[in-house]
């Protein structure tokens, strides 16, 4: 489960064992730096049960921010191709390397690599949003 690879339990605490899928995400913002990569994305798998406060506010999607960082001030960017046609219907994979580092790969809807990066850790935050159809 990709939520087990995060430093903090925020997302895991919300979703439990029902891990949100990363094969249909919308990217909102990407911030590139040698020592960190911040990715803000929308997820469409809602937690179960949906928090009462989210229901009251009519939230229908989740806004997730991942801070992907290096402890040595240098991430390893294996690929960076920002010239893609659309930032919706993208997919992301988060995996553990044999040396304990974390690899994050984001692809566009035609499976072209957008960003592929190896990091020391990932910190994740999540909240509900009201996404217009």
């Amino acid at each position: 489960m990709w939520t087990n690879l995060l430093d903090n339990v925020c997302i895991k605490a919300l979703y439990g064992d029902k891990v949100p899928a990363l094969d249909n995400i919308d990217l909102v913002m990407v911030k590139i730096h040698p020592s960190y990569l911040t990715v803000q994305l929308n997820l469409f798998d809602m937690p179960a049960p949906i928090p009462k406060r989210w229901i009251e506010k009519g939230y229908n999607a989740c806004s997730c921010t991942l801070d992907i960082y290096s402890k040595t001030n240098q991430l390893t960017y294996k690929s960076t191709n920002l010239n893609i046609s659309q930032y919706t219907q993208m997919s992301m994979s988060i995996s553990a390397e044999t040396d304990g580092k974390k690899r994050v790969e984001i692809r566009d809807s035609t499976n072209n690599v957008f960003i592929d990066v190896v990091a020391d850790g990932i910190h994740g935050m999540i909240g509900g949003i009201n996404r217009k159809a």
């Binding site: 913002m29 960017y77 010239n83």
Partner: protein
């Protein structure tokens, strides 16, 4: 001069007159892509101070000049974040039609090379890193 073709260049013109700020030995603190507008924000810090220093700039010994640009209709030729962004050298060429911007890091490695159709200054002024 590249600053002639940048929107909202009032502060640059006010402080630097008939020259562009020199962006050699600068720092590029991030490349931010807004996936909804597709605009790109680039933040730079540099040390080519306006002469004379504006009287209302209360700078400390760690201060720098900060400039944030928002670029529209961007095409990336190179993005290579495997090099430190500090120090870097920034080259901007501009005309009515195109803004061409490159950032070179250590050993002249190209970190960023892009073309944009429009560039706007969204932040310009001094920045004190350790102001208290």
């Amino acid at each position: 001069m590249w600053s002639d073709y940048i929107i909202n260049n009032r502060e640059i013109k006010k402080y630097y007159g008939d020259r562009d700020p020199i962006l050699k030995g600068a720092a590029c603190y991030s490349i931010e892509l807004d996936c909804q507008t597709r605009n790109v924000r680039l933040g730079f810090e540099f040390f080519d101070w306006p002469k004379p220093l504006p009287k209302d700039w209360k700078i400390d010994e760690w201060a720098c000049v900060e400039m944030e640009l928002e670029l529209e209709n961007v095409h990336f030729n190179t993005v290579n974040a495997n090099h430190n962004f500090v120090p870097c050298s920034v080259n901007i060429d501009a005309s009515n039609a195109t803004i061409s911007l490159q950032v070179y890091g250590e050993n002249n490695n190209c970190i960023l090379d892009l073309n944009a159709q429009k560039a706007t200054v969204i932040n310009f002024g001094y920045y004190n890193h350790y102001w208290d």
